[in-house]
């Protein structure tokens, strides 16, 4: 997966280089350098009639705060609001404070499309942070392409897409899958896998990539199963797993089904701490564990790019700020962190471009580096996805993950992976 031209650097060296680079560009503003709006007259920075005034710029937040998906999307909304607040406290974007309009997608894909259109056509927002499920992204995509908007999409997803109007701040499938499988194979000696997922495109595509990779390694897939979204009875599949005795259960169950699956797995006597079989998931973040209960999933492994327990300075600061704003009980999952990146990456692209115009922001985006990202250094790839590290976490019984592995280098995003289609 790793391409040869990936720069091999330790994270600290990377950060230093970026800081040095930033001091050469004083108006980049990441460190709170004040930029005066007077240096950037509205007529110059906004030539396409976006909602930008001399002291304000409006962006959109488009997530579900009602319906089934609000369980997952609440964290993203909170992260985006935090990022916007921090950016404003640090002087805003090109000297303008960010104002946001929040719309509710109501867990309903057509509503997402309708609201996206409203944000772009009526409110003329300069960018939109939003969407969570693939279905909602697919629904709004034509809208963003038609009205030339910019969407910052936070979720890890199946790939197979690269739109000029979307910056994907989460991982595409290969970034999340390959490293994790390689890790269980080399460190845990896994030989056989049982693939399991909710029945929609992300789990199916992810399992397809996983299966190809497993077969490439010369190992065995002993079962592959899908259950309807919202399914709550997993006893039959658990029986099957017990009979096939795989080394690894590779689970991509989502939403309310998650809770049922892990509780029933535990009740059926599969103790994940014994790692026989070992459970590897790419769909359970700290957010989901709230519902599942830490004691029901302890011992499982998750492959993500971010865990709340990451020990780096950026993350410690981020977690502290997040808890100050939203309360001490809150947990932060992978997608929440990716959502936090959205406003920052947009701000940096705007400042690099010296303009709010979508076309110029798009042009400026590839190569944008964010060294203060909680997950550590990230960079926008030409294909609008992020270079980022992949990590494996081990679930503890307090609902947190302990990071047991991280890739040495940034993993290149490949939304159209050769050989995995």
């Amino acid at each position: 997966m790793m391409s040869d031209d990936t720069p091999r650097k330790s994270p600290i060296a990377t950060r230093r280089r970026v800081l040095a680079g930033m001091s050469a560009l004083p108006f980049m503003g990441i460190l709170g350098t004040k930029v005066s709006a007077a240096d950037y007259p509205t007529a110059v920075v906004n030539t396409t009639g976006l909602a930008v005034t001399d002291d304000k710029v409006t962006v959109g937040i488009l997530h579900s705060v009602t319906g089934t998906m609000s369980i997952s999307e609440t964290g993203s909304v909170q992260a985006e609001k935090l990022a916007i607040k921090q950016i404003n406290d640090a002087g805003g974007v090109l000297g303008r404070q960010i104002d946001f309009i929040q719309e509710d997608g109501a867990s309903d894909w057509p509503t997402f499309a309708e609201k996206a259109k409203k944000l772009l056509v009526q409110d003329k927002v300069a960018s939109v942070m939003g969407c969570w499920t693939s279905a909602s992204r697919k629904a709004v995509l034509p809208v963003f392409e038609q009205y030339n908007g910019m969407l910052y999409y936070p979720t890890f997803y199946e790939g197979l897409e690269q739109s000029p109007n979307v910056i994907y701040t989460g991982q595409e499938a290969t970034q999340q899958i390959i490293a994790g499988i390689d890790w269980v194979v080399s460190n845990k000696g896994a030989k056989s896998f049982y693939l399991l997922g909710s029945d929609y495109i992300w789990p199916r595509t992810s399992n397809k990539i996983a299966r190809k990779h497993i077969e490439k390694l010369g190992l065995e897939v002993v079962g592959e199963e899908y259950y309807p979204l919202g399914h709550t009875q997993f006893n039959s599949v658990i029986n099957k797993i017990k009979l096939r005795k795989p080394d690894v259960i590779y689970a991509i169950v989502v939403g309310g089904s998650n809770v049922a699956f892990y509780k029933q797995l535990k009740a059926a006597g599969i103790d994940m701490t014994k790692e026989k079989p070992l459970l590897l998931t790419i769909s359970v973040t700290e957010d989901e564990i709230l519902g599942i209960g830490g004691e029901n999933i302890v011992g499982a492994y998750a492959c993500m790019k971010y865990f709340q327990s990451l020990p780096n300075d950026n993350n410690v600061e981020f977690v502290k700020a997040f808890k100050e704003m939203w309360g001490d009980d809150i947990v932060i999952g992978d997608v929440t962190q990716a959502a936090y990146l959205g406003p920052w990456l947009w701000k940096m692209a705007v400042e690099k471009a010296g303009s709010f115009d979508i076309d110029k922001v798009r042009e400026a985006s590839p190569g944008i580096e964010f060294a203060k990202a909680p997950e550590g250094y990230v960079r926008i790839h030409e294909n609008h996805h992020l270079w980022s590290k992949t990590r494996v976490g081990h679930a503890l019984d307090d609902g947190q993950y302990e990071v047991v592995y991280e890739t040495e280098d940034l993993v290149e995003p490949e939304p159209f992976p050769e050989g995995y289609q």
């Binding site: 109501a106 894909w109 499309a113 929609y200």
Partner: protein, 379 residues
């Protein structure tokens, strides 16, 4: 025919409604709002069908989403095939098939997709496929005298089954995402503002046509039988009528209306997804009819417009609280004015208007339909 089709007062109501959707909305709204109203009006097709089937026939279907969805999917399949020309899909491993098939390792267009390359076939299928489906359900149910609550729940189960099927067979149906990214109709770009205006008028014209057909059914002898069946089914049967056939006819007619709405929805919104097939949208559509007044064809149109307008504006103003408002509205409609807006209009506004016009109030017939000008201002 025309003399008995509508009373004078109903002609006025029809004229007001037509003026509203053909002149007032297009003249006062920007293209974005007009497109939204166009979307709401596609739900009105379903609501009109429900007025006939539920309000007049007493058959409550909680599965109208099935027919709306089937109609919409038929149209979406045609548009998707057109959008998936080999040139547009050159980067796929199998060019020329819809993108979601390629993602799911389908390498050949399934045989039942092939006829949808033809536009005439699609137009026929939009209506015929859902009607066949409705006929099968109806034949099985009504011939065995299943009705009322059972029928409602069984249609609900059908809606659930169809959703699970569509989601599960994503290589052939697009799964949860649905069929997205539809672009052109016979080479005509349906995404432009100009196209949206034209589609809006096509939609509005079709809706008025559907209203006329509905009214023809209502005033015919069949319409009277329908009400008789609703109120005393056995007596109609004992009089020698085949109740089951009448029920099947009205159910199929409602399905056809819904399907037209679904196809127009796909054209105006640009995609179709299983979230229109399931239980929730099906119940919501019943609620449009209930809010408008379950006996009033015109009321159904106003019901669809007002509920959706309220939903959009509540959720813009209070995104986290709009469910309270919606829930409250449903309860209020059922509890305090069961005949919906049309009932309110008949009992409150009409006498007022009559007094203002200094004319004697004509005794209101039970099935009088009415528009409510005050509500129009709110739109």
């Amino acid at each position: 025919m025309n003399i008995t089709l509508y009373s004078r007062r109903e002609w006025i109501a029809l004229a007001i409604l037509s003026a509203l959707i053909l002149i007032v909305f297009p003249a006062t709204m920007d293209i974005f709002r007009l497109n939204l109203v166009g979307k709401y009006l596609t739900y009105a097709f379903v609501a009109v069908g429900l007025v006939l089937c539920w309000g007049h026939g007493g058959i409550l279907s909680l599965g109208q989403g099935i027919f709306f969805g089937l109609g919409g999917y038929c149209m979406a399949m045609f548009l998707k095939l057109e959008a998936s020309s080999p040139e547009n899909t050159a980067i796929q491993s199998t060019p020329g098939i819809p993108d979601f098939m390629d993602w799911n390792q389908v390498t050949e267009l399934p045989f039942w997709w092939v006829p949808f390359k033809s536009f005439p076939f699609t137009l026929v299928a939009v209506v015929v496929v859902p009607v066949i489906f409705a006929w099968i359900i109806g034949a099985a149910m009504f011939k065995r005298r299943v009705g009322g609550v059972y029928f409602a729940i069984i249609t609900q189960a059908f809606a659930a089954i169809l959703t699970i099927l569509i989601v599960g067979q994503q290589g052939y149906t697009g799964g949860v995402n649905g069929i997205t990214d539809l672009r052109t109709l016979l080479g005509w770009d349906i995404r432009t503002d100009g196209a949206k205006v034209i589609l809006y008028f096509v939609n509005a014209a079709l809706l008025i046509a559907v209203l006329l057909v509905g009214q023809m059914v209502r005033v015919s002898k069949f319409g009277r039988l329908l009400i008789a069946m609703r109120d005393k089914e056995d007596r109609v049967r004992f009089s020698g009528y085949d109740v089951a056939n009448f029920k099947m006819f009205i159910f199929c007619l409602a399905a056809a209306f819904s399907a037209i709405g679904g196809a127009m929805f796909t054209l105006q919104v640009g995609f179709m997804s299983p979230s229109f097939v399931g239980i929730v949208p099906s119940i919501e559509m019943v609620i449009f009819a209930a809010v408008g007044g379950r006996l009033s064809l015109f009321g159904a149109v106003y019901g669809a417009l007002i509920v959706n307008w309220a939903k959009t504006s509540f959720s813009e103003t209070f995104p986290e609280l709009w469910l309270f408002a919606m829930g409250g509205l449903f309860i209020a409609v059922v509890m305090t004015f069961p005949n919906g807006l049309a009932g309110l209009f008949r009992s409150h506004v009409e006498p007022l208007v009559a007094r203002l016009l200094r004319k004697p109030v004509v005794a209101a017939r039970e099935t009088t339909t009415a528009a409510e000008p005050a509500k129009l201002a709110a739109e």
